[in-house]
């Protein structure tokens, strides 16, 4: 009899634990997914009424998986969403508008986040995503090679960047890497923003033929037509950086650890600096947002989990686990984030970083930009002509 009671009670506990707790399904990608379980455990300790189930999706399959999930209405409650994917998936109408949740929230408030990061969650004027972690681009440069050409500091503005690249090319092979075959806007747009330009203005008018854009475009093109930057193909970024073939490039915070691991021989011979200045030092803002699906049956729980991940202490913890940069400004006051001087540069850069506007047609605009940028840097068209063609393209896309 005693044994029966024992078995029964174990059974009851099992039933209670599976049916008692409300389940929250989370889709996450890559390294983040493997480590998110640790945070989910903490969350469940604090909120025993929920059970978080993290499903890992490899980055390579994520796009298709989300797409088929949306089309087939087989979606999780919460998902990690790369900032550049907010526009295409957000405009399908699959994500919940989070505005009412934000209004009631104590933790998630727009002013707690970096401004550029908050914008990544805005699609067509609706707040569909909450920035989870961010990344931004900064200048990586070889301190030793730059001092050989007379720079004891990082290039501070456009003229210095061009001058340094020119002198480095004369001494070595190339001055800087600036090419990206796909989504090239990530490299070009920071220059445009630094010059006060943009793709569309606040009234929705296409302004890529305006002097601010064209000047930045011409500045960018000059690096290629004067052979200061390699075009196409390209080699291994680490090796080229270590050998001095391309002593400067723009990239995100993940490169700090990767360079330290992959090419330890140049330790102490490189550093990270803010974007060069024109009118501003604006950089590109990326990272991942968190979204709730409209078909989720447990939006309250899903929102609790997002709030939990947005807490400054949890954001710092997340930085310690996967080195993802906090999107919440308060997290940066923590001494852990102030320790690494290179990461501190990125923290400073985040105050002036932007994401392109999230509109449904952005993918099309991006592909069209790749095309026109290539036409200019391969010397088939002048930047002015390419910008004019780009304007026609974008107006056609937006019509």
């Amino acid at each position: 009899m005693k044994r029966l009671v024992g078995v029964l009670s174990i059974f009851l506990i099992l039933v209670a634990s599976t049916f008692g707790a409300t389940k929250i399904t989370v889709w996450a990608m890559g390294e983040e997914a493997k480590s998110l379980d640790k945070l989910a455990q903490l969350f469940m300790q604090e909120y025993p009424e929920y059970e978080v189930n993290v499903q890992a999706i490899p980055w390579a399959n994520a796009y298709d998986k989300i797409l088929t999930g949306i089309a087939g209405r087989q979606v999780p409650d919460v998902a990690q969403m790369g900032t550049t994917w907010m526009a295409p998936f957000g405009s399908m109408g699959a994500f919940e508008d989070l505005t009412p949740y934000i209004q009631k929230s104590e933790i998630v408030k727009p002013e707690n986040f970096f401004e550029g990061a908050w914008q990544t969650g805005t699609v067509d004027g609706n707040q569909l995503g909450i920035p989870w972690y961010v990344d931004t681009r900064a200048l990586y440069y070889r301190t030793d090679l730059l001092s050989e050409v007379g720079y004891d500091h990082a290039p501070q503005n456009w003229d210095e960047l061009y001058d340094a690249a020119k002198k480095l090319t004369e001494k070595g092979k190339y001055g800087i890497t600036l090419y990206q075959p796909q989504d090239n806007y990530q490299v070009l747009m920071p220059f445009v923003w630094q010059n006060g330009g943009d793709i569309v203005d606040s009234n929705g008018k296409v302004i890529v033929d305006q002097p601010e854009f064209v000047e930045a475009f011409a500045y960018y093109t000059r690096f290629f037509t004067e052979k200061l930057a390699p075009i196409g193909g390209g080699g291994n970024l680490f090796q080229d950086f270590a050998s001095g073939d391309t002593p400067m490039f723009f990239s995100g915070p993940w490169m700090v650890t990767m360079i330290r691991d992959q090419v330890p021989q140049i330790k102490g011979k490189w550093d990270v600096a803010l974007m060069p200045q024109k009118k501003t030092r604006t950089s590109f803002m990326g990272g991942s947002d968190l979204v709730i699906f409209r078909d989720s049956k447990n939006k309250e729980g899903a929102w609790k989990f997002i709030e939990f991940l947005s807490r400054p202490d949890i954001q710092v913890k997340w930085y310690q686990i996967v080195s993802a940069l906090p999107s919440v400004q308060a997290a940066w006051d923590d001494p852990i984030l102030q320790q690494d001087p290179m990461i501190k540069v990125f923290g400073e850069q985040l105050n002036d970083a932007k994401a392109p506007v999230n509109i449904p047609q952005f993918q099309e605009i991006s592909v069209s930009m790749d095309r026109r940028v290539e036409e200019a840097i391969y010397g088939r068209k002048t930047p002015e002509q390419a910008a004019k063609d780009l304007k026609n393209d974008i107006e056609k896309i937006l019509r």
């Binding site: 797409l67 089309a71 295409p88 399908m92 109408g93 193909g233 088939r380």
Partner: protein, 291 residues
């Protein structure tokens, strides 16, 4: 003897049902979609779809990038198709020769590319084609030739893709040709030898005519395959530089799965379908006249 209806249904039923679900229905759905403006807004809410007749097809005819993709694909087809047939036929003949050692080793080596993941292949090829450290340019430099920037030069990107495509397709076709070669009766060669035919003459007048059906099959299949060129340029160049490697299917993929313009993408798919159908039909006709 009359086959009972039940047996017919049990044996043929399942494959027919599968064919319907996975082939015929999707084909008709996509034909229907090609007459609508199915786009990003319709993915979640189908009420946003409206019927627009032939507008997609008319826009397609006015789309310069589509024509570019069409020309690129035909360029790849015209160069890669003969190369594939010539290489695989000659390799098969060499492997099948009596005096060849390690026949199976060669068969396996040539076949390996066909069963290897294209993604992995493309990464390795991108390295080999690298202008500065690549194996190919290193090899050329031994002869004092300065190799081009293969994937970065609009003129050389398509030849690079073609190299990869042919290299990948040869293995499979070698197997087909070897099978064909083994079916040629020995007495034909003996008779030819008695008549004093050289090795090359034997190949020209015995092997090739006997292989007609295999050659025909290989040609039709490679034409169909190359018109659907996608994976190799997608992985190697993503269509660039300057759209020099943009193929029809790559353009379709971009429109359908990056821009979510499924209506427009479906119309591209149908134009491609009609092209493949027409080309295969012409080939069939040509063969019928020949026989």
């Amino acid at each position: 003897m009359k086959t009972p209806l039940r047996a017919i249904i049990t044996f043929i039923g399942p494959p027919i049902i599968l064919l319907f679900i996975f082939m015929l229905i999707p084909i008709f759905v996509s034909l229907f979609i090609s007459f609508t403006d199915f786009d990003v807004y319709a993915m979640y809410d189908w009420s946003n779809v409206s019927f627009i007749g032939f507008e997609n097809y008319i826009n397609l005819m006015k789309d310069p990038l589509f024509w570019r993709a069409l020309l690129n694909t035909l360029y790849a087809l015209v160069v890669a198709m003969p190369l594939t047939v010539i290489f695989s036929l000659s390799f098969a003949a060499l492997i099948n020769r009596e005096g060849t050692y390690l026949k199976n080793f060669f068969k396996v080596s040539f076949y390996l590319p066909s069963i290897t993941n294209t993604v992995a292949i493309a990464i390795v090829w991108a390295w080999m084609l690298n202008p500065d450290y690549g194996l190919i340019n290193w090899f050329l430099s031994l002869f004092g030739i300065r190799g081009p920037n293969w994937l970065g030069d609009p003129a050389w990107a398509m030849p690079s893709v073609i190299m990869l495509v042919v290299w990948k397709a040869v293995g499979y076709n070698i197997i087909l040709f070897t099978a064909g070669l083994q079916n040629i009766p020995d007495y034909l060669y003996e008779a030819a030898e008695l008549d004093g035919a050289t090795r090359f003459q034997q190949f020209l007048y015995v092997t090739i005519p006997s292989l007609r059906p295999t050659i025909f099959f290989v040609t039709v299949m490679t034409v169909i395959g190359y018109l659907q060129l996608f994976e190799e340029p997608y992985m190697l160049t993503a269509g660039g530089p300057l759209n020099s490697t943009l193929s029809i299917v790559l353009y379709l993929y971009r429109q359908g799965f990056r821009f979510f313009k499924l209506g427009y993408a479906s119309s591209i798919a149908f134009v491609l379908f009609l092209m493949i159908f027409a080309l295969t039909f012409i080939q069939m006709r040509a063969r019928r006249n020949e026989v």
